[in-house]
Symmetry: C2
Subunit: 418 residues, 2 copies
C-alpha cells in the first residue's frame, strides 16, 4: 500500500491507508492507547485498543501504521486512525535523553546540541530549518529574476587576507592554506565575468568569541553586481531581495514576516551614533547601539529594518569604496533587523590603482593578492554587493535567543561535534 | 540614460541607447574602427569613424557607449551602434596575457588558471559556469517538487571518519579538526528530521592525484531520503532529478543535453566487469572499465547514462547496506555518464545494531561516531541517497577534457590560487 502523509489523512475519510513515521508520543489510558505518529508533514493520531499491540511501542521508534481514517471531533485535526496494524521498522530500546512531544525542548542547549540528531526532530527546531530553507529559496528566486548567476567559489585559499587574525589554518599537502572567511574576492572577480553573481555557502571565522550571535561556520548569502551608480543601487536590490525572502518564508511555512518598506529607512553612521546615544568619536556600532537603532526605526518609521550607511573607512576592509563627498566615510552599509546586524555590504573600489594604493596603505603585500588584482588590472566596472548571515536572520525571525537554536549542527570554539 | 543589454539592441532600431561592458575586440581598419563590446548577455558592434575616439581603446577596458541602433545586414546579429559617444570607466593599460576574442583560449591551461579572473571572461569558459548554475537550479527544482528540503551541514568535523587518509587537517583553536569529505553523516541524520533533504555545497578531498577528473574541492549535489524500499527507490528519484537538471540546462542555456531514459539501463557489478572485459575478481571499476561501459550503454541501449549496481561490499563505506540476497555485494550504485562516474549512491544501513557491527568490523572506534550513532539509536527508517559531482557532469556535457576547464577557481594538490 502506498504511504500517505499525516496531513493527507483528512482527504481519505473511512479509507484504509498507511502512514509511516516516528512514534512521537504514546499515551496509555485505561482502556485505550493513543499513538501519535510524526512524519515530515505533521502528526497522526492512532487509536489502539489492543494492549498487546501498544505494549512494545517506544518513543522515536519508526513505524508504519495501516488503519482506517476515522473522523472524530475530539481527535487533533478531527481525524484519527482506527483498527491499526502496526509494523516497527526500527525499534528504540533505550530511554531518550529528553522528550520531544512537549511544546518546547526542556533540556538545556548544550544537551540538545550534544544530541542534535534527536533534538532537531522537535517541531520547533525543525520549523527553523524549514524557515532557513525558504529564506535561501527566496534569496535565489529574487536574484535570478534580476539575472544574477549562481557561482561556487573556493573555500581553501592561499593567504589569510581579508583580516589577518581570524582564519583557520590548514595543512595543504605540507604547505599552509586557510579557510575562506568570505567569498568576497571571488565574487568580485566574477563580476568581471557574469556581471551579477550570488553564492549560498559556508564561511569560516576563527573568532574565539562564545556569544549568542557568533558561529565559526555559518551560511552566507552573498551577492555582487556590476555597473552600479554607488552603494544605493546595491541597497535597492538588497531591499527587493529581503522582501522576496520574507515573502517566500511566509508562503512556504506560514510564519508571519514583517513588512519590508519599499525604501528601508537609512541613517548615516554619524546620525546613528547620535540616535544610539553613543560618543561621536566611536568608530563602530556596538551591539547595544544596534539595538537602540532597531528600537528607533520601529518607533519612528514603523520598520523592523534599518540601514546604517557611511561607516568610517578606518573600520571597513581595504576594498571599500570611500564616500566621494567625504573620504573619511565609506560607501559601505549594514542592514539591521530587529536590533541585530544581519547584512554587511557596500560599494567596492574598482580601479586597479586604487587597490594598489589601498593595499599599500593597509601594509598588505601586493604579491599575495596577485590573482585578485588581475580582475582590476584587466578592467572592472563600479560594483558592490552584500553578505547576509542566514542564521542571524532566522534567529531574529523566530525569536530564538541564540543562533545555535536555528543551526542544524552549530560550530563554535568549543564545539565541533556532532 | 538606462543601460540596455547587447541582446536587447534589436528591439530598439534607430533609437539612441546605452550599452556598457568590456572592450572585447578593437578592429582598426583604414577608415573605420569596429569596437566589439561584451556584456553579460552578448556582444554589441560599435562603428567608430573618428580615429581620435578609437585611439585610446584597449581590450578589456570597461566602457559605456551611447549611440544609435542601426540595422546593417553585414553586422553580427544584423545590428550595430553608430555615432557613438564612448566613456571609459576603467582603462586597461597593460597588455593581456592572452586574447579573449578568439573562438577558444589559446593559452595553456596553467596560464589560464593563473589568470582565472581574465580567462573566465572568455565566452566558452563563461558558458560552462552558466551550465553549472542551470544544473544546480534544475537539481533543486526537481527535488523541491518532491518535498526534499535544503540543508546546510558542517564542513569542519571532529574526526577523519569516512575514509581515514584523504582528509585535510586544520588547527581548530589548538586542537585538530578536519574538512568534511562529504555531508554523508549529516544528511543521514537529517533524514530523521525532515525525511528528504538535499545540499549543494563544497566537499574536500586531500587526494594527491593530479588527474583531469579530480579536484581537492568540488561541488557535491547531495540528496538523502527516508522510507525507501531499497536502492532502486533512490535510483528512480535520481533518474527524474537528472532529467530535470538536463531539462533546465537546455532551457536556460540552449545547450543540447542527452535524452534521459524513463528507466536508465542498469547492470550488476559482476555483469559490468564482464562487459568491460575485466577479470571477474576485480573489486572496483577502473576508469577504462567505466569508459567501456559507457560505450556499451550507448551501443546497446542508445543511452548516454548507465547504472552499475551491486558493488562489492568490501569496496564501499561502512554505512552501505548489503544486498539481502547476496551480502558480499551492496545495495550501492554508481551512475556513469559518457563513460565517467558522476554519481555514487545507494541504500544505507538504518539499524543501530548494524552500525555498531559495521564500525567494529571496520576497526573504527564507536566513540568517534557518537553523535552520528544517535540518529540510529533513536530510530531511523530505511533510507538512501546520492552525491553528484557537479564539475564532472559539466565537463562531460561540454566536452571539456579537464574538470579544471569548467571550474571557476579549481583547487588541486599544486594550486590554491587565485
Amino acid at each position: 500500500m502506498q504511504r500517505i502523509l499525516a496531513t493527507e489523512l483528512a482527504a481519505h475519510p473511512y479509507e484504509q491507508v498507511q502512514v509511516a513515521g516516528w512514534v512521537h508520543r504514546v499515551r496509555r489510558l485505561k482502556s485505550v492507547t493513543f499513538l501519535i505518529v510524526r512524519d515530515a508533514a505533521g502528526l497522526a493520531q492512532v487509536v489502539i485498543t489492543d494492549r498487546a499491540v501498544a505494549a512494545p511501542l517506544t518513543e522515536e521508534s519508526v513505524v508504519t501504521v495501516t488503519g482506517t481514517v476515522t473522523p472524530n471531533e475530539q481527535a487533533p485535526g478531527g481525524i484519527e486512525l482506527t483498527g491499526p496494524e502496526i509494523h516497527t521498522q526500527s525499534a528504540v530500546d533505550v530511554p531518550l535523553p529528553f522528550e520531544l512531544h512537549r511544546p518546547t525542548l526542556t533540556a538545556g542547549l548544550p544537551v540538545q546540541l550534544d544530541h542534535a540528531a534527536l533534538a532537531l526532530r522537535h517541531p520547533v527546531r525543525r520549523a527553523a530549518l524549514r524557515i532557513a530553507a525558504a529564506a535561501t529559496a527566496g534569496f535565489r528566486a529574487a536574484l535570478e529574476a534580476q539575472r544574477f548567476v549562481e557561482v561556487h567559489t573556493p573555500k581553501i585559499v592561499e593567504s589569510a587576507t581579508e583580516s589577518g587574525a581570524d582564519v583557520f589554518r590548514l595543512d595543504y599537502f605540507g604547505r599552509a592554506a586557510y579557510l575562506a572567511q568570505s567569498p568576497q574576492f571571488y565574487k568580485q572577480m566574477m563580476v568581471g565575468v557574469l556581471e551579477r553573481v550570488y553564492e549560498v555557502g559556508p564561511v569560516f571565522r576563527a573568532e574565539n568569541s562564545d556569544t549568542a550571535r557568533h558561529l565559526t561556520q555559518y551560511t552566507s548569502l552573498d551577492a555582487e553586481m556590476g555597473f552600479i551608480a554607488d552603494h544605493r543601487t546595491v541597497m535597492a536590490v538588497l531591499t527587493g531581495t529581503v522582501a522576496g525572502m520574507f515573502g517566500e518564508i511566509t508562503a512556504r511555512t506560514g510564519v508571519p514576516t514583517p513588512r519590508v518598506p519599499a525604501e528601508i529607512p537609512a541613517v548615516h553612521f554619524t546620525e546613528a551614533l547620535r540616535i544610539a546615544g553613543a560618543p561621536a568619536d566611536e568608530p563602530d556600532l556596538a551591539p547595544a547601539h544596534e539595538r537602540a537603532l532597531g528600537a528607533w526605526a520601529r518607533r519612528e518609521h514603523g520598520s523592523e529594518l534599518v540601514f546604517v550607511t557611511g561607516y568610517p573607512m578606518r573600520k571597513r576592509p581595504f576594498y571599500t569604496h570611500p564616500d566621494p563627498a567625504d573620504p573619511a566615510y565609506s560607501n559601505g552599509f549594514d542592514l539591521i533587523f530587529r536590533g541585530l546586524e544581519i547584512v554587511t555590504g557596500g560599494q567596492r573600489l574598482h580601479r586597479h590603482a586604487d587597490y594598489v594604493a589601498a593595499l599599500r596603505a593597509a601594509g598588505e603585500p601586493l604579491a599575495a593578492h596577485r590573482g585578485y588584482l588581475d580582475a582590476f588590472r584587466y578592467g572592472m566596472p563600479p560594483h558592490g554587493g552584500w553578505a547576509i548571515g542566514l542564521e542571524r536572520l532566522v534567529a531574529k525571525l523566530t525569536g530564538a535567543a541564540n543562533v545555535r537554536e536555528v543551526t542544524a549542527f552549530p560550530r563554535d570554539p568549543h564545539r565541533i561535534a556532532p
